[in-house]
Symmetry: none
C-alpha cells in the first residue's frame, strides 16, 4: 500500500493496522486540552499548542486538518477521561460502597484533575451552538444516570436501601446537585470537596434504611 494522502486526523475510525493515533498526536491533544482548561476555547491558538509540544505549527496541521479537527480530538479525549472511573471498586463491593465511590470519584477529579471541570463547562457552553457536542454530552449524562440507577437498584435489591425510593428520580436529583456544585464558580477546591461530603451525607441518609 502506498502512502495515503489523507492526513492522520481525518478519519474518526482508524483503518486496521493504520491507527489514527500516534504519540505525537496524543501529545498535541493533551497540550490543547490543557490550553483550553487554562485559557478557554477563546484562548486556544494552534501556534501556542504547537509551541507547548515543541513543534512547528505546520507540524500540528500535519496531524490535524484544521483547528476544528483538533478540537474534536480534544473532545473525544475528554469524553474518554470523563468515562474512565478514577476510583476503583472491587466486583464484590456493596451498593453502598459503590455509591460512596461515586462521591470519591468526583472528589478525586476535583483534586487531581480540576481542569476536567473547566473543560466540561466549556463544552457545555459549546453545546448551545454545536449539536454534535450537545449530543455527546447527552450521551455522557445518560451513561452517568444509568450507572447511578444501577447502583441504587442494586442497593434496593441488597436490602441496604429503602424500597420506596424512585431510583430514576433520585439519580437525577443527585446528578443535578453534583453538577450544581461543580459548576459553582468562585469557590476553591477545598470548599467544593466539603460540599460534596455534605451532599454525600444527605444522600446516604435519604437512601439508607
Amino acid at each position: 500500500m502506498t502512502h495515503s494522502p489523507r492526513r492522520r486526523g481525518d478519519q474518526s475510525e482508524a483503518e486496521p493496522g493504520e491507527p489514527a493515533t500516534s504519540p505525537r498526536r496524543d501529545q498535541i491533544i493533551r497540550a490543547a486540552y490543557f490550553t483550553i482548561a487554562e485559557e478557554g476555547f477563546e484562548g486556544l491558538r494552534t501556534r501556542d499548542v504547537a509551541g507547548k509540544v515543541g513543534i512547528n505549527s505546520a507540524t500540528l496541521h500535519y496531524y490535524f486538518r484544521d483547528k476544528e479537527a483538533l478540537v474534536q480530538g480534544v473532545v473525544a479525549f475528554m469524553m474518554k477521561e470523563l468515562s474512565r472511573p478514577r476510583v476503583a471498586v472491587g466486583p464484590t463491593a456493596s451498593a453502598l460502597d459503590r455509591l460512596r465511590a461515586e462521591f470519591s470519584d468526583i472528589k478525586a477529579r476535583i483534586r487531581d484533575a480540576p481542569e476536567q471541570l473547566i473543560v466540561l463547562t466549556e463544552l457545555t457552553l459549546r453545546a448551545f451552538r454545536d449539536p454534535k457536542i450537545a449530543q455527546l454530552l447527552r450521551e455522557l449524562d445518560q451513561g452517568w444516570h444509568a450507572h447511578l440507577v444501577s447502583i441504587l437498584e442494586a442497593g434496593i435489591a441488597e436490602k441496604l436501601f429503602r424500597t420506596d425510593i424512585d431510583a430514576g428520580a433520585t439519580a437525577s436529583a443527585l446528578m443535578a446537585q453534583l453538577r450544581g456544585l461543580v459548576y459553582q464558580g468562585g469557590i476553591g477546591p477545598k470548599k467544593r470537596q466539603a460540599l460534596i461530603d455534605q451532599i454525600a451525607l444527605q444522600t446516604e441518609r435519604w437512601v439508607r434504611k
Copy 2:
C-alpha cells in the same frame, strides 16, 4: 475639539452632570448582552454589536474605552438583571409562598429570559480566569444564599417548617440542585421546568412539617 477628552465609559466615577449612563450606552450593552447569549464571548465582535445598534464601531468606542469596558458593562447589567426578582411577593406573604416564589422566579427566567442562563454560564467560565468576575459571582451567590436562609428561618419561626433543618445547609443544597439543573446542557426548556417542579416538590416535603 470641544468634547471632553475623558470618555463616558471610563471606570472612574462619572462627574456630576456627566452620567456614566445614556440611552445609547444601554442600547449597546443590551446588544452585546444578547450577542454573547447567542454567540458566546468567543463570538463577540465590537463591529457586530455596533451594527446591531445601527452605529459605527468607532462610535461604540466613544462610549466604551475598549472591548473590556464593554464586557464590564454587560456584566454589571447582567448582575442587576439577576438580582431583580421576576416574581413579586407581597410583604405579608408566608415563608412557604416566598419559597414557592423562588421556584417560580427561576421558571420565569427559563421561560422569559433564557439568555440569562447562557450568559451566566459564560461568566462562570470567565470567573476561572478573571478574579473580578469571580468576586461578583461570589457576591451574587452569597446574596442568594442569605435570601434563601432568611426564607427558611422565617418558615421555622412561623412554625411552617421543621425546626430541625439546617437552614444554611438546606439553602446550599437547594442552590446546588437548581444550579445543576440550569447548567445541564442538552435539554429543552420544558424538561427543565418539569425538573424544577420536581425539586420544588421534594424541597417542600423536606422542609414542611
Copy 3:
C-alpha cells in the same frame, strides 16, 4: 441613513448617491491590474498590491471583501479599458478610415498599453475554469465582431468594398488573425506591429474593390 456595515466592494451595483467607487478603490484596482500584468494571477499578492498603493493590506480588505472581489474589480476595469477605443475617428469617417482605425487602435494598445495583452491572456486562461470570465470574454468578442461587421457593411454600402465579401466571416477571420498575433509569445512589440501592418495590407486588398 446610518452607516451600512457592508463593505464598499460588495455590491456590483452601487446605490444611487453611494458610489461603489472611490479614488482609493481605483488606485488599488490599478495596482492589482499592473501586478497581474507583471507577475500573472499566480503572482498576485494582496500584500504586494497594498504595498504598491502605500497602504496596509488590511486597508485593502476594507475596500474589497476578499481577493476574489479584487480580481473581479480588475476584470471589470479591464473590460472597460478594452471597450474604450484608443484611436478616435470622426463621425464622418469613411468605412475604410474606420477599418484602418481598427488596426491603429491595436497598434496603439501594443505601444501604449502592452499590459492589456498580457492581462487579456491571463483572463483567457482563467476563462477555462471560471465561467463568469468566460461569459465576459464572449460578450467582449461579440461586441468586437459586431463592430467589425458594421464597418464592413458600411463599406459595402458606401461602394468602397467588394459586394461579394461575407461580412460575418471576414470579421471572424480578421479577429482570429489579430488575436493570433496578439497571443504570439516570444516576439517584441516592433515585430508585432509590423505583422499588424501586414495583416492590414492584406485585409485592405481583400475587401477593397
Copy 4:
C-alpha cells in the same frame, strides 16, 4: 547511504548508465502536465501530482530537485508532443495533401488532446516572464513556420499553388489565424473545428491556382 547524491532530475547531463529518464519520472511529468491543463500553473501542487502518481511528495523530490525542475520536464514533454505530428502523410503526398494534413493535425489535437491548447497558453503566459520558455516557444514557432513555408514552396514548385504568393507571409498569416482560433476563449471544440474548416477553405482558395 548508498545512492548517488546527485539527483536524476538534475540539469547537468546524466552520466552514462544513469539515465535522466525513467518510467516513474515520465509518469510524474504526465501527471503534472494534466494537472496544469486542469488547474493551471497556479493550481500545480507537488503533493497533488505525487498523489496522482501514488507516491509520496518526498519521492517526487527524489526525481526532481525542485518544482522548477518538474515544470521544465513538463515543458520539454510538451514541446515534444507539439512537434510530433498527429496526422501522418506519406512521403509521396502532394503539397496540397500536406497542407490539408496540417489542418487535420490541428483538428485532431483539438479533438484528442485539447489539454495541449491550454498548456500551450499557460506556457505563452510564462514566456512573458521566463526567457527560457520564450526562447523555446520562438523555436517552436520557427519550426512551424519553416514547415509551412516548405509545403507552400513545394506546392509552387509542383505548380499546384499560385506562383505569386509570398510563402513566408502566407505562412505567417496562416499561423496567426490558427493561433487566434486556438486562443479564442469561450467556444466549444465543435465550433472551433468548424472555424478551422473555414480557414482551410479560405486558404486553399487563396493559394491554389
